[in-house]
Symmetry: C2
Subunit: 260 residues, 2 copies
Amino acid sequence: MCELLGMECNVPTDIVFSFTGLRKRGGGTAHHADGWGLALYEGNAARVFREPEAAHRSPLARFVQSHPIKTLLAVGHVRKRTRGPITLANTHPFVRELWGHDWVFAHNGTVHAASRLPLSGRFTPIGSTDSERAFCHLLGALSEEFEGYPRSTSELWTAVADVARRIGARGSFNFLLGDGRHLYARCATKLCHLVRKAPFGLARLADEDVTIDFSTVTTPRDRVAVVSTVPLTHDEAWIHGEPGHLWVFDQGSLRATLPA
Amino acid sequence: MCELLGMECNVPTDIVFSFTGLRKRGGGTAHHADGWGLALYEGNAARVFREPEAAHRSPLARFVQSHPIKTLLAVGHVRKRTRGPITLANTHPFVRELWGHDWVFAHNGTVHAASRLPLSGRFTPIGSTDSERAFCHLLGALSEEFEGYPRSTSELWTAVADVARRIGARGSFNFLLGDGRHLYARCATKLCHLVRKAPFGLARLADEDVTIDFSTVTTPRDRVAVVSTVPLTHDEAWIHGEPGHLWVFDQGSLRATLPA
């Protein structure tokens, strides 16, 4: 199993505090030592750091933690291998371009018989994970349903939920998906989120002795949604996801909860 | 104008020495301060570092230089903006997946009326450069010509050359293209290469007072092809490209020179 971390905001925010917790869980406090990745959007383009190594020991992960990059949308992952060897090609998040947007995807769980998920021919796995196959299937299905990025974003959200439900019937399909504008988060077994907003207070990382007072680094209109496999902090009210549901975040708010 | 750096080898090699020279030219000894990028393959997957900032001053570029990653195939670029604002989306190298391979592309020059290059619908630019549009057009053309990665690689090389020639008729189209197996390098105006092989000797960087004795870091069977906009070293015999020709490198050797 793996762990997921997502962030979606209404003002550019750095993910250092949450990433510090995730990184610890990548071979430190938890055994997710087979790779890590972090995608940070700038507009519709994603900057992606990925390594088939333990985040906890990685000099690059330490660099990313110590050189914060502000972003409106981020997807992170630490990997505990279940399917596929430990290679760069099998390291989440995966990235593909669709409709002039980078799409990034990270998965926690196992999709059984993933090789039977049909591919449209447009998106082909580079590695050998069930996760990347499911992602390619998902994007292939979206590209067949819409000519370009839909004007009606709610139609897109529903389409993502529909495909997610079909894939989810084959196993455990917790995922985070970013399209440059939204963060999609599906709960199959375990996922939680919170929205940090005014009045901001203190939070203490669950995995490390680090406390932050968000009121000192925010303005009253800031909204930051954070999604994680397990609560990353004490002192905050994490909302646990309901299995078979998809959250859609936009502008730091939970915009939709769809059966998926 | 921009500067290109490519490397293709028969044994995993780090690109630190050449990247040190390129990085200097990114805002140091030359004025290519509008972005930099470096793609390093592991198998058919590429690890890509990109920033819309001067390589010379970038902490990430310094990190990459001081934490060498060995690879068989690398494509680097420093950008002096001609078209498109300074954003991540407009920073080379560009990446797309085709046939289960990451393809990476970096361009030096200007393609006129690039917006008239037809797109297949499969690959769409994220940013606003002529370069990314030309790359999307190129991959779209290849995806229409072949069902998957061709068994006959020489047919693929010829197809790349044919599309490159068509695009090149619209302006100045020096580029480097990687597909996980080969490095393609087209000369429109300025490009040079060398193959380092036994007996290895000394080389001194043109842009910095750094000398390396390759005989101390190689074995007799190593072959490393390096392609660059301008010679990166003194003391080595760089071969200058002929405008309108495409080089194809494989296993550290120049395998083909095609009209393009």
